[in-house]
Structure formats: C-alpha cells, structure tokens
C-alpha cells in the first residue's frame, strides 16, 4: 500500500484563527516561531513583498529569497475593536493597525500591553513575533 503523502499544513498556525493551511510560503511560520518576521524578495528584480509571496507578478518568476522585516515603520492608522468575528471573542479588546516601512506596509495587531492613550498615528513602531494564548503565532506592533 502506498504511503499517504503528508500535507504541509504549517500555515494553520498563523493568527488566532487561520483560514489557510497550505501555502508555498509556509516557512514564514518557522521563522515566526524563531522570533523573526520575514518578507520575500524577488531575486530577479529585487522587489520586496510583505506579506511574503511565492511568485513575482512583475517577472512572472518564483525565484524568491527570505529577508527580515527590520527597523521601524510609521503607524498609518488603527482601530480598536469592541466586537469581534466568531473565534476572536477571547482576544477582545484588540487593535488592528497598519505600519508603513517605506518599501512595503505591514498589517497586524498592536501589542496588547500598549495603552490606547499612548497610540499616535505617525508614531514609530516595530513588528515583533508573538505567541498567542491559544498556542497560535502571529506578530504585533510595539513602540519603537
């Protein structure tokens, strides 16, 4: 009997609830577990993608390398949620936000321990790997 081929479902660990189990950028999860938030860069044209992609639409190539999201980004905007979709209720309240790194932007959550009074649009923040109480992994924004 042929051995059943195992599926690489690492991406099911991303976020409080993941809606995607299988992707060609599954290594993102391994990096995240090592404390690194990674983007991909097209080796042909040099374009950096965050979130990471397996394929470059400009080159129609799939020749990517991993690069770390480092330094700081500016907070573009955010919203603090008092209601949540199904599966996210235990996280309330939480703030979703967008950071601008210049070459790319990063969408994510603001770190839970940062009080809303200290959040300012335009402030410098950094993206940090995070483990959620339910064992899932994501990343959060902290004051730079």
């Amino acid at each position: 009997m042929a051995k059943k081929k195992e599926m690489d479902t690492r991406f099911s660990k991303f976020g409080t609830v993941s809606f995607t189990a299988i992707t060609k950028v599954n290594d993102f999860i391994d990096y995240l577990e090592q404390g690194k938030v990674m983007a991909t860069r097209c080796k042909d044209c040099g374009m950096v993608f965050f979130p990471p992609r397996a394929d470059c639409y400009r080159c129609l190539a799939s020749n990517m390398e991993w690069v770390e999201v480092s330094g700081t980004g500016k907070l573009v905007t955010y919203s603090k949620l008092e209601y949540a979709p199904i599966g996210f209720g235990d996280d309330l309240p939480y703030a979703i936000a967008l950071l601008d790194y210049g070459d790319y932007k990063v969408f994510g959550r603001i770190a839970k321990d940062l009080p809303e009074e200290e959040i300012r649009v335009g402030m410098d923040m950094k993206t940090v790997a995070n483990t959620l109480p339910n064992g899932q992994v994501n990343y959060v924004f902290e004051k730079a």
Binding site: L81, A84, I96, Y104, K105, V106, F107
Partner: protein, 388 residues
C-alpha cells in the same frame, strides 16, 4: 449603436428575518420591476443574478430563480463583486445589450443574510478581506472602515460628530422610506448619550450609529436597448456613464487611506463617458455602509474637495433641498444592506427620482443622477450615471 435604457425597477422591503425562502424574496423585487416595465417574462432575453455567495445555502441560485420567475429557457448566470454585485450586474447587462447580443436583460440582486447569525455574518464579511494574511488578526468590515475614518480624522480634522451628522441625515429620510429597515429618527445627541445604542463602541472611532444593519432584500433592474426601451417605456432612464475599478484586497497593498481609489477611478470613467462633471449631478446615491464611507464618497466623486466633505454635511448641502442631495432614500444606513440587492436598490432610487416618482423623497426636477456602489472595503468600485 444606440443608447441603453432602464425600463423597470423594483425592490422588496429590506427587512430583518424575511419570512420566506430566497426565491420568494427575489420574486418581490422582480414583480415590482416587471409591473413597472409593464412587460412579460417572454420579453426578457437573459437574466443576471447578483449576490454574495457566502450567505447562500442554495448552490447556483440563478437557475432556481430563472425557474421560479419563468425566465427559462433564456440564459441566466450568477455574478459577484461583494456589495457592488448588482452594479457590476448592471454594467454587464449594459455590455450584453450594447453589443447587440440581447435586447432586454434583467439584473436581479438579492441577499438573505438572516440565514446565518449576525456574528457568523461578521465572520463572513471579514473573509471579504485577505483570509491568508489579514483575517487571522480578527478583522471585520467596521474595523477596516474605522481605519479609514481614523486616517481621515487625523489628516483633515474630521470629527466623530461630522460622521454622526451623516447618520442623522440618513434617518431623516429613512423615516419616510417605507422599504427601509430602520425608520426611527436619530439625533446628534444620541451619539453622546451613553444610554443610547447609537453611541455604543464597535471599532474606534466608529460607533453603532455609524454602521448600517444587515438586512434581507431583493432588487431588480430591467435594461433594454434604445428601440425596445422607447417601445416599452414612456419614461426610459438612460445609462449615460458607467465606470468600475479595483484595488489591492490587502490594506498593506494600498497607498490611500483617506479615500477610496476605486471610487475616484470609477467616477472619472463614468463622468468622462457621460460627458458631465460633478456639478452636473442633481441627485446621488452613495454607498454609505458606514458614515465614513459617505464622507469619502463626497470627496472621491468631486462633490467636495479632499478633506472638505465635512463642510457639505455641516451645511446640509447633501439634504434634499441642498446643492447635491445624497441618499435621500435613507441610504444603506436606514434601508439596511442586503449585499447583492443594494446596488439595484440604489439604481431604483435614482430612476424614480429622474422620473419624478420618488414621492416624499423627490428632489426638485433632477435631470442627471449618480450611483456609487462599493464592494468590500473599497476593493471594487462602481459608479453609474443616469439621465432622462
């Protein structure tokens, strides 16, 4: 190649918990449009069914409706672009008629959102965003639009009260629209009254009063070529301009957070095609799924300069008597927002306005009207300009 006209419009009442099945819901909007057009089902050459499929239990509803409405054996198909589905349906019907492929096409929009719970529907709406990279953070529509509201407030000094004024206007007309789901008056004071549900926090800076409600509903728009439109209808309303655009699903893939690029681009296309400017618009329906969405629409459509939308609402210029009446049927904020039916309902309102048949909501003698219908969080944009 001749013009393309609208010869019949209809919609069901938009309600919470429609007491019937989806085919019965669709029949209501279709019946009104057919009676309005005064034609028979044999006169319709094709039908386009517009909806957001994640609410449907029925697989491929188009066939079920064609059977129930008597529209077989004519071709029918399903079309989806989230909340702008029926405007994209109108664009497709325009192309089918303009090409000469069909003479008369029915655009049928519907949504029965009450088949699932409100929380489940929020979850599905969140999945209208990028499910791989953004939904795992717990996103939902109000929070995304709230991020636009925050950016608009930061850049232009727009106040939460300016957004509340848009809801107050919507409720002014929702009270006189018998097809609206929310028909109570709303005052500015309610937004600062902790006892009022309007002031309840949802996703900062948006409050309950800034958000439209889910609803069940259907709409129908019947489109015909010039010859048939003139033969069937005493008062055809012509499609003068039609534009559509898309952008990155992910917020991380966008550059503008104080407006919707898709609305700007679809608007430019529609104005150019119609040969008119924003000043020529006598009455407009804009996609006010949230108050901030109407504020951005003022600016994206050129009714106000960027950042100056607040002046329009403060001066009541978008009321019925103002210089550019907007959503004088109560908008999505009052009518409710049955995703696939919404665009058709907006088109119906403008058609009735241009025919002088809008009753208590009638704007004085409009000649040119505009419909702005957005899918997702500014993911898809459709702008349609209609004239007598």
């Amino acid at each position: 190649m001749g013009k393309v006209g609208i010869i019949g419009v209809g919609q069901s009442s938009f309600v919470r918990g429609y007491p019937g099945s989806i085919r019965e819901l669709v029949f209501e909007g279709f019946k009104e449009a057919m009676k309005d057009a005064d034609i028979s089902v044999k006169d319709i050459d094709a039908s386009i069914v517009c909806s957001a499929p994640e609410y449907d239990k029925q697989r491929s509803p188009a066939g079920v409706f064609a059977e129930y409405l008597g529209l077989t054996p004519q071709p029918t198909f399903y079309l989806e672009s989230l909340c702008s589905s029926s405007s994209m349906g109108l664009k497709t019907a325009y192309a089918l008629v303009k090409s000469g492929l069909h003479d008369v096409v029915a655009v049928i929009g519907f949504q029965k959102m009450s088949e699932i719970s409100s929380a489940e529907s929020q979850e599905r709406m969140g999945r209208g965003a990028d499910i791989q990279w953004e939904s795992p953070f717990g996103t939902m529509m109000p929070a995304y639009y709230a991020m636009y509201a925050r950016a608009h407030m930061e850049k232009y000094g727009t106040a939460p009260e300016d957004l509340a004024l848009i809801r107050v206007k919507a409720a002014t007309y929702g009270q006189i629209n018998e097809k609206a789901v929310y028909r109570k008056p709303v005052t500015l004071e309610q937004f600062s009254d902790p006892e009022s549900p309007m002031s309840g926090p949802v996703a900062s800076p948006l409050r309950v009063g800034d958000c439209c409600a889910n609803a069940d509903g259907s709409s129908c728009v019947i489109v015909a070529n010039e010859e048939k439109a003139k033969a069937f209808s005493k008062k055809p309303v012509w499609i003068l301009g039609i534009g559509a655009a898309s952008t990155a699903v992910k917020l991380a893939g966008r550059d503008l957070f104080t407006g919707l690029t898709v609305a700007e681009q679809a608007g430019e296309q529609a104005y150019k095609m119609a040969g008119v400017t924003p000043k020529d618009i006598d009455v407009a329906e804009v996609h006010d799924c949230f108050t901030i969405a109407e504020m951005m629409a003022y600016e994206n459509l050129g009714f106000a300069k960027a950042g100056e939308g607040k002046e329009l609402i403060r001066a009541k210029e978008t009321y019925k008597e103002g210089s550019i009446p907007v959503n004088v049927d109560g908008g999505l904020l009052s009518k409710g927002h049955p995703i696939g039916a919404t665009g058709g309902s907006q088109i119906r309102t403008i058609v009735l306005q241009l025919r002088g048949e809008a009753g208590d909501m009638q704007v004085k003698d409009p000649e040119i009207g505009l419909v702005h219908n957005i899918g997702g969080v500014g993911l898809y944009g459709n702008v349609t300009i209609l004239g007598r």
